[in-house]
C-alpha cells in the first residue's frame, strides 16, 4: 500500500492541471466522433441484414438490430427450395467471379506490360481509346450486347444467350480498360533497369513478365482481382438480360427473384442468401490483404 502522506520538507509537486473536457473535445474528441459516425454508417446496414437473416419472417419496418429469437429457419428455407436452386446459383456465381477475376488480371496485366514497356505505333492512341471506352458504362451497350449474343447463340450456343461462359466473356471485355490503366500505372513505377538487368541476365520477355514484373506488381494485381470479383458478384443488369434458365442464374439475379415476388415472405431467406454470398469476398479479402500492402519495389534501387 502506498501512502499518500507528504514527507515533511519534500518539495511540493503541484498536481498536473486537468485538461478541461471542452479542450479535449476540440483537440481530439471530434475525431472520435467522426470515426464512430463513419463506423455506424458502414456497419448498421450490415448488422441489419445479419439480424434479418436470423429472424423468422422479418419485415423491413420492424427488424431489430439484434434479433429477438434467433433462428436458422431462413437458411433452411433458402437451401431447400427446388424452384430456386440457391446452391446452384452460388456455385455459378463464385466460379464465374473467380474465373473472370483471374482472366481480367491476366489480360489487363498483359496489356499494361505492353503499354508500359514497349514503344509501338498507336501506343498513345490506344491508351486514350481504352480510357474513352471506359467512360461509358457497359450496360449502355446492353441492347447491342443482347443482339450480338442472340446471333452468337445461333452459331455457337455455348457462348451465347443463357450461358455463363458468354456472360464471363462480356465481363472480361468491359473490365479491360480501367484495369489496364491501373496496372500500367503501377508497372511504370517499376524501374526500367530491373527489366534491362533481367534481359542482360538472359531473360526473355516472357520470363521478365512472369518472373520479375508480375511478382513485383502483386499489390495492384490483388486489388484488380478483388475488385473484379466483387464486380461480378454484384453485376445485375447484363446478367438479368442474358441469363434465363433457373439453374443458370447468378446470385444477384436469383436473389432478386426472392424479393421480386412474395416480397414479405421472402425477406428473411433473401437476407440469409446475401449473407452467405458475402462470405467468400471476406475470405478473399483477408487472403489478399498481405499482397495489397504495397512497397515491394522498395530496395531494388538506391535507398
Amino acid at each position: 500500500m502506498k501512502s499518500t502522506e507528504t514527507i515533511p520538507g519534500a518539495p511540493v509537486i503541484p498536481p498536473r492541471p486537468r485538461r478541461s473536457f471542452g479542450k479535449w473535445v476540440r483537440r481530439t474528441g471530434w475525431r472520435h466522433l467522426v470515426a464512430w459516425l463513419a463506423i455506424a454508417f458502414a456497419l448498421i446496414p450490415v448488422l441489419w441484414v445479419v439480424s434479418a437473416a436470423f429472424t423468422l419472417r422479418p419485415t423491413i419496418s420492424d427488424t431489430n438490430l439484434i434479433p429477438q429469437n434467433p433462428t436458422l429457419e431462413n437458411f433452411t428455407t433458402l437451401l431447400n427450395n427446388p424452384d430456386q436452386p440457391y446452391v446452384k446459383w452460388y456455385v455459378n456465381t463464385m466460379l464465374l467471379a473467380a474465373i473472370t477475376a483471374v482472366f481480367t488480371v491476366m489480360i489487363a496485366a498483359g496489356a499494361a506490360y505492353a503499354f508500359s514497356r514497349f514503344r509501338f505505333k498507336g501506343r498513345k492512341v490506344g491508351l486514350m481509346f481504352l480510357l474513352l471506352v471506359q467512360m461509358f458504362p457497359q450496360f449502355l451497350a446492353l441492347v447491342a450486347i443482347y443482339l450480338i449474343m442472340t446471333q452468337v447463340s445461333d452459331i455457337f450456343p455455348a457462348l451465347g444467350l443463357d450461358s455463363l461462359l458468354g456472360l464471363g466473356l462480356i465481363y472480361l471485355g468491359g473490365a479491360m480498360g480501367i484495369n489496364a490503366w491501373l496496372i500500367k500505372g503501377f508497372f511504370d513505377t517499376i524501374p526500367m533497369e530491373i527489366d534491362e538487368s533481367a534481359k542482360v541476365d538472359g531473360a526473355s520477355h516472357g520470363q521478365i513478365f512472369w518472373g520479375v514484373i508480375l511478382p513485383l506488381a502483386a499489390p495492384v494485381l490483388a486489388v484488380v482481382g478483388l475488385l473484379s470479383f466483387i464486380f461480378t458478384l454484384n453485376e445485375f443488369i447484363i446478367a438479368k438480360a442474358l441469363l434465363q434458365s433457373p439453374d443458370k442464374l447468378t446470385l444477384a439475379v436469383g436473389l432478386q427473384q426472392f424479393i421480386g415476388t412474395k416480397y414479405a415472405e421472402n425477406w428473411g431467406p433473401f437476407a440469409a442468401g446475401a449473407l452467405l454470398a458475402a462470405i467468400p469476398v471476406v475470405i478473399l479479402f483477408l487472403f489478399l490483404q498481405k499482397y495489397i500492402v504495397g512497397g515491394l519495389t522498395q530496395g531494388s534501387v538506391k535507398g
Binding site: 533497369e193 530491373i194 534491362e196 533481367a198 534481359k199 511478382p215 515491394l296 522498395q298 538506391k302 535507398g303
Partner: protein
C-alpha cells in the same frame, strides 16, 4: 573472355540527338577500360549499345571477334552492373545472384555452389537469405557485383556503380572492384564521370566529350601527355592551370608572355621543344600542373606573380587557388568543383578577369587570401596546345 571492338559507332536518338559520334575503341582480352567524361557526354549510351540495350545507329560492335549488332542482350554473354543496382526486390540475395544461372536452367546444386562462392568473394555469406531492402548501399552494390560475376560472362559492363555510395565506401569499393577484375581477368568496360576513379582503376582510360572520343591511354600517360586542352583540364585533381600566352622564339631565348609577365624557357628546355619554333609570333595555350608550381626558386624555374584567392590546407599539401593576370582558357575547367569555388571567390573579390589556377604547395605554410606572391614554375613541365584546335603541341 574476349576482346571488344567498337568501329565507327554512332548513336542518333529518335529525337535527332547525336549522342555518340564515330566511336572506335579496341578493348583487349582481360583489359579494364574506363570510359570517363563529364555528365551527358554519351558514356551510358555507349555502354548500353555494347550491352545491346540501345540500338546502334551506325558502325559495328564485336565481342570475341563476332559482330553483335543484331544480337539480343541475352545472347551476348555479358554481365552488367547498373548505377542504381537494379536488384530484384522480391528475391533474396542468393536468388538475385543466381537468377541468371536459374534462367539458363543450370542444376540447382551447381547454382548454390556458385552463389556461395560469389558470396564468399564479396563478403555476403551472412546476407544470402536477406532481401535487397534489408541491405545497406554498399551491400547492395556487392550483390549487383555478385550477380555479374557468377555468370562467367565474357564481358563486364559497369555504369557508375559507385556513384550512390558515400565517399569512404567509394574508395574501398574502388580498390575491391579493381582487384576483383584482376583476379577474374574478365574484359571490363567501366563508365564513370569521376576522373579519380578513372585514374586509379583502369589499365587504360578513354576520355569522351560531347559524344566524341578525345583520347585513350593508360592513366599516367593521360595525365602527363594529354592530347588536347579538354583532356588536360579534365584529368587530374586539382585541375591543370591553363592560360593563353604569346610565344616568341628568338635569339635571346623562348618567351611566353602572360599578361604583363614573361616566362622564359632556358636553353635546354627550349631545345627539347623544337615544335615551338613553328608557333613563334603567335598565341598558344600553355598548361602547368599544380604540383609543378613551387614556392622557391630552383634551376630552370621561372617566376610568376600571382594573387591568392583561396587556400586549402589538405594535410599533405596546401592547395592554393590563385589569380594570374592574363587571358583564361574556357575549356580547361570543365567538370571541376575547385574551379567554381575559385570563381565564387573571384566574384566576391569583384575581380572577374584573369587566369584562375591551382598550385599545390608544401604543407604547414600560410597563404593569406588576397596576398600577392611569387610562384616558381618548373618550365620543363609546361605543356603546350594549339590555340585553334586545342591539340597538344609536341
Amino acid at each position: 573472355m574476349a576482346e571488344l571492338v567498337l568501329t565507327d559507332v554512332d548513336k542518333v536518338y529518335d529525337n535527332g540527338f547525336h549522342a555518340v559520334k564515330d566511336l572506335s575503341i579496341e578493348v583487349t582480352d582481360g583489359e579494364f577500360l574506363v570510359l570517363v567524361g563529364p555528365s551527358g557526354c554519351g558514356k551510358t549510351t555507349a555502354l548500353r549499345m555494347i550491352a545491346g540495350l540501345e540500338e546502334i545507329t551506325d558502325g559495328t560492335i564485336s565481342i570475341g571477334g563476332k559482330v553483335v549488332n543484331e544480337v539480343s542482350p541475352r545472347d551476348r554473354n555479358i554481365a552488367m552492373v547498373f548505377q542504381n543496382y537494379a536488384l530484384y526486390p522480391h528475391m533474396t540475395v542468393a536468388e538475385n545472384i543466381g537468377f541468371g544461372l536459374a534462367l539458363r536452367r543450370d542444376p540447382k546444386a551447381e547454382i548454390r555452389e556458385k552463389v556461395d562462392k560469389a558470396g564468399r568473394l564479396l563478403d555476403l555469406t551472412s546476407m544470402l537469405s536477406r532481401r535487397p531492402k534489408q541491405l545497406s548501399g554498399g551491400q547492395r552494390q556487392r550483390v549487383a557485383m555478385g550477380r555479374a560475376i557468377v555468370r562467367d560472362a565474357e564481358l563486364f559492363l559497369m555504369d557508375e556503380p559507385l556513384s550512390n555510395l558515400d565517399a569512404k565506401l567509394r574508395v574501398q569499393m574502388r580498390a575491391e572492384i579493381a582487384s576483383l577484375q584482376q583476379q577474374l581477368g574478365i574484359t571490363t568496360v567501366y563508365v564513370t564521370h569521376d576522373q579519380v576513379e578513372a585514374m586509379t582503376m583502369g589499365h587504360r582510360v578513354a576520355v569522351m566529350r560531347l559524344g566524341e572520343l578525345q583520347q585513350i591511354a593508360p592513366p599516367q600517360e593521360l595525365y602527363d601527355n594529354p592530347d588536347n586542352v579538354f583532356v588536360a583540364g579534365f584529368i587530374g585533381t586539382p585541375p591543370m592551370t591553363l592560360f593563353h600566352a604569346d610565344l616568341t622564339v628568338g635569339a635571346d631565348g623562348t618567351r611566353l608572355r602572360v599578361g604583363t609577365q614573361d616566362i622564359v624557357l632556358q636553353g635546354d628546355v627550349a631545345a627539347a621543344r623544337p615544335f615551338l619554333a613553328a608557333a613563334s609570333g603567335g598565341e598558344i595555350i600553355a598548361g602547368i600542373r599544380a604540383e609543378d608550381i613551387y614556392v622557391q626558386e630552383r634551376e630552370g624555374f621561372a617566376p610568376l606573380e600571382i594573387s591568392v584567392l583561396l587556400s586549402e590546407a589538405l594535410g599533405p599539401s596546401v592547395h592554393v587557388n590563385f589569380l594570374l593576370e592574363g587571358t583564361p582558357v574556357d575549356e580547361g575547367r570543365l567538370g571541376s568543383g575547385l574551379a567554381s569555388a575559385a570563381e565564387n571567390e573571384l566574384n566576391r573579390l569583384g575581380q572577374v578577369s584573369g587566369i584562375e589556377g591551382v598550385a599545390a604547395f608544401p604543407p604547414r605554410m600560410n597563404f593569406p587570401v588576397g596576398s600577392r606572391m611569387t610562384a616558381w614554375i618548373d618550365t620543363a613541365r609546361l605543356l603546350f596546345f594549339d590555340v585553334e584546335s586545342g591539340r597538344a603541341l609536341r
